[in-house]
Symmetry: C2
Subunit: 310 residues, 2 copies
Amino acid sequence: MSGDLALGPGAEFDAIRAMVARWGARATGIGDDAAILHVPRGDVIVASVDSFVEHRHFQRDWLTPREVGYRSAAAALSDLAAMAASPIALLIAINTPDSWLANLPEIADGIGEAAGAVGAHIAGGNLASASELSITTTVLGASFRPLRRNGAVDGDVVYVTGTLGGPAAALSRLRAGESPEDHWDRFAHPVPRIAEALWLADRGVMSAIDISDGLIGDVRHLAAASGVCVEIDTARVPRAADVSIELALESGEEYELVVTSPQPLDEREFRERFGIPLTMIGRVSSAGAGEVLLDGVRVVGAVSHDHFAR
Amino acid sequence: MSGDLALGPGAEFDAIRAMVARWGARATGIGDDAAILHVPRGDVIVASVDSFVEHRHFQRDWLTPREVGYRSAAAALSDLAAMAASPIALLIAINTPDSWLANLPEIADGIGEAAGAVGAHIAGGNLASASELSITTTVLGASFRPLRRNGAVDGDVVYVTGTLGGPAAALSRLRAGESPEDHWDRFAHPVPRIAEALWLADRGVMSAIDISDGLIGDVRHLAAASGVCVEIDTARVPRAADVSIELALESGEEYELVVTSPQPLDEREFRERFGIPLTMIGRVSSAGAGEVLLDGVRVVGAVSHDHFAR
């Protein structure tokens, strides 16, 4: 699409053309009022939207423009992983001040990297001026049988992918003026667990959620949706190096998955295939609908990452 | 979904719950990481995204919160009209400062009004804090054979729906400190021409575009995509009362459709059915690929509404 993009003249369209040129063959159908997407026969569409906002989710000196683009798209794709859906396409809405305009091609490179890693096309978008940068990514996927939050039942085993707390540790060090060191990559370069989710769905997992708002907060959403209690053994929760158990339990910005399964899963095979751990961290019980127990103690109050908490 | 929305506690989720409560049965599937949508067998998915940004597209004292919500969704839905797609669902990403939080239920009412008018559900969204209000709406529709911009051929007749220039006239009066009077409703309450588009597609129209960036600018996109020349008789362009021909030709914020048809269309039947005019304004020729002629004179330079024009 790049060289012959069928748009008229103008600075807005020049910026769009520059981004589409960076995407190359990964951009499809851009130039109509809307994108046309084909759905595998028998599948349902799985759709989600996520925003990444300057000054709220990141500061300009934290991330390169490419990382800003990558992270905005990768975080949105994580919602498709949580549903065990195969990505089809992204729509990218960018609101930007003039001061970011020259960085749009690098931002496009990061978006293209995230889309390419999961085989998704970039099928459309919108560009508008604004006083701060925000990137709103719509992800569209397909699934024959999506995983939902409401499938957990009494007796299920609870698993989490990866290790937790790295992104929060990186952020707290940055905000304290320190170097985030080893944890930085976990904040700047989260990996949506698409392939892992499809593997888990194939092995009979019955519910899933991504823990972008923190383990406890998101597990509580799952418990509420399923009308069950989730009991977590905190000593089992896999933590990044030098991360406290509190940070691992409560930190947002994670893009790992929590799943529930009627039968035990092969943790070794998972690690060999994906290079990250799959860890049994608890079980589902009927002790109280919508409840989360940490080592047998009921969680009360707001613990989830909450953009409007005081 | 309203009363029993399966989300955990927290101020962010309270705000989401308040909006979902206003949508009632129109909100479906909210509470999972992503929405699940069923596509009519044999249809393709048509998808688009559009943003409505405070201080750029509107000022707070111009519109009620309900109008802000209505207009953000209606403008996005216009892109489905341009493709002759039947709306299925909206995803709503709201970035908002605290000063707008109390208005979210009214904004939700306006979004629900726009969705309800075209039979679409509200299937998901995202809420984040930001320094200014922006509403990014993803629209998802289905079509057996979507209309595109690239279907115009030499000899086609060119039509436009409705009357032009009202929104621009309203905006220029507002910016001059005057009352927008009669034109205001055209700015605050645009109607996506979904039913009109389906009627036109049934009658053999082969290309379409919505003219949200202004008649000339968008017709030029169509001419470029189709590799044809579009010749417009400016005296035929239907204008709102007291609107100059220049304003009618160049004004953005229109949500009417331009279509090309191999044969003449029944303008009287259209007006009787939809209560707005359908007007033949020109023809397609081979005089120059991507060109627009106004009364035989070639249009040069940028005339389209351009968010980043200097």
